[in-house]
């Protein structure tokens, strides 16, 4: 479904991503782990088009994504939950979700269904639907950011550090919801996380990204069994 081949990205002369190749097949759950500054967010920004690729290719279902204008990419079925949530703070919770459904141009019936779906997943958002998103707690904002992404009925969900800044309890809840979406809807998920334990324990396959390079890749079992991953990322 998503195929990234030899992607390089430079930031003011610095190489942020160096020949990165990643693949996500239909219905897969891919985890990308790595330390801060490894280029994980840059990878997602390149997919969404908010940073330019220096070389390499990104394709979605065989079409060249780099040739698609950035605001048109979500219309191809990609939803990006950015690092730091980036909800629309001056819009209500319901309007934030409506913005996530922008590619669908929702009609009344479909919109009600969309709302019910995300409210079932995150009941707190139903309670707070008329509140401004800026008044939500960090955990609620993260739920909103995910709900907003799901409202567009994407086929590929990109999640950038959804646990960042959250208490372990809330982070667990978020991971559970992501699992639910993946399992019940068969959505393809690519998750970027510093919390390697949670990320690797939910994935089918994973990649380890360090200093802009893929240093290791494999199935869940491969990665969890790897000595280096255990030592550096899992702390055992």
């Amino acid at each position: 479904m998503l195929k990234i081949d030899a992607l390089s990205v430079t930031y003011g002369g610095l190489l942020a991503l160096d020949q990165v190749s990643i693949r996500a097949d239909e219905g897969e759950f891919i985890a990308i782990v790595g330390p801060n500054g490894a280029g994980k967010s840059t990878l997602f920004k390149a997919i969404s088009g908010t940073v330019a690729a220096a070389s390499g290719t990104i394709s979605l279902d065989g079409t060249d994504l780099l040739a698609v204008a950035p605001p048109m990419r979500p219309h191809r079925g990609i939803a990006h939950v950015p690092e730091g949530r980036q909800v629309f703070k001056s819009l209500s919770v319901a309007d934030n979700i409506a913005m996530g459904a922008w590619p669908l141009a929702p009609r009344a019936a479909e919109w009600t269904q969309t709302l019910e779906r995300v409210h079932a997943l995150f009941p707190v958002l139903a309670e707070r639907r008329d509140q401004l998103a800026g008044t939500l707690s960090g955990g609620e904002q993260q739920m909103l950011a995910i709900a907003r992404a799901l409202a567009g009925k994407p086929r590929l969900l990109l999640l950038d550090e959804p646990s960042m800044g959250l208490s372990p309890r809330i982070a667990d809840l978020i991971f559970d919801c992501i699992q639910t979406v993946h399992k019940t809807e068969g959505m393809t998920v690519v998750l970027v996380e510093q919390r390697a334990v949670e990320a690797l324990s939910s994935c089918n396959r994973g990649y380890v990204l360090e200093s802009g390079r893929i240093v290791l890749q494999g199935s869940q079992a491969d990665l969890l069994g790897d000595d280096r991953v255990r030592k550096v990322y899992l702390g055992r």
């Binding site: 980036q86 629309f88 703070k89 001056s90 309007d95 913005m99």
Partner: protein, 319 residues
């Protein structure tokens, strides 16, 4: 107690005049606030858009058969309606050819977020339009000659008499300005496109992740802001003489109003303009008319001093 009656009468007179004028000022401020609120661009050519709206109304009424067909009063309101789509298109064209080069997502990463280039561009545009207008329209003050400009409604006060006079052209212009502002507020808060514009203003990058074309939103915002200001200009033309530098007289009011109301709030901008209109007219009760503008800026400075976020602006927490 003839003195008390006189005071009540003249206060009400000034208040009604202030509300009518203030509503028109409010609409001008809304035009500026739409552009600033959504694009984060301070448009220094706003006064010239107002001036062009006035000249459009003038030529639509006196330069065509409109005056003979509909009369000077109705004709001028037809010109007001006509100015909206025309200046929306003008605004989108200016955005496409000029503004898009110095604004939008791509300038967010630059050192000053493109502000120097925006200042030079809009200030330059303002000078070109002013002097262009001088060449094309000439420097002599002109008037639309609307029959309403010199007509007034007399409203009797209850009790022992006295009455106030309401200038018809200003009252109609003020009412239309309120109507347009309410329509815009409903558009921004209720419609999908309006919410999309607000999302693009709130967080352009996240809006892009939603599939919202921020460049298109900016084009719409610049078109809307231009059209609103030009419509306000066409309304002003129904009661005020015009010349190529007329924008300068109003641009000060626009900035003061927008800052009063909070830089990125459409409702706030309208209230800001309204307050300025009322203060300007009420101050004439106790101050010589030359000091009207001074009164505006005394209020302005007090607000800036005590409430720097404006009367209606939120204390922003943009991280």
């Amino acid at each position: 107690m003839p003195d008390l009656l006189f005071i009540v009468e003249s206060t009400l007179q000034a208040l009604t005049a202030g509300l009518a004028l203030g509503s028109i000022y409010g609409l001008m401020c809304v035009g500026l606030a739409v552009i600033f609120g959504i694009m984060r661009v301070i448009n220094f050519a706003q006064g010239e858009f107002l001036m062009l709206g006035m000249y459009f109304a003038l030529y639509a009424v006196v330069g065509t058969a409109l005056k003979d067909w509909a009369g000077s009063a109705l004709g001028s309101y037809i010109a007001v309606i006509g100015s909206a789509p025309l200046f929306y298109v003008v605004g989108t064209l200016i955005h496409r050819t000029l503004m898009s080069r110095v604004s939008g997502i791509k300038v967010l990463a630059t050192d000053d977020e493109g502000q120097s280039a925006q200042l030079i561009l809009t200030l330059g545009l303002s000078l070109v339009l002013q002097n262009g207008a001088l060449i094309v329209f000439g420097s002599a003050p002109r008037g639309l000659g609307s029959s309403l400009a010199s007509a007034a409604w007399e409203v009797g006060l209850p009790g022992d008499g006295g009455s106030i006079f309401i200038n018809q052209a200003r009252a109609v212009a003020g009412a239309l300005a309120v109507l347009i502002t309410v329509a815009l507020a409903i558009f921004m808060s209720r419609t999908r496109l309006g919410k999309g514009l607000r999302a693009a203003a709130d967080h352009p990058v996240a809006a892009t992740y939603m599939g919202i074309d921020v460049a298109r939103c900016h084009r719409i915002a610049f078109g809307l802001g231009t059209a609103l200001t030009a419509v306000a200009g066409a309304l002003v033309a129904t009661y005020y003489p015009l010349q190529p530098y007329v924008g300068l007289e109003f641009v000060v009011i626009m900035y003061a109003g927008v800052v009063l109301g909070g830089m990125d709030s459409i409702k706030g901008a309208f209230w800001g303009g309204l307050i300025i209109g009322v203060v300007q007219q009420m101050s004439a009760l106790i101050l010589p008319t030359q000091l009207q503008t001074t009164a505006i800026f005394v209020i302005f400075l007090l607000v800036v001093f005590f409430m720097p976020q404006g009367l209606f602006g939120r204390v922003s927490d943009r991280a």
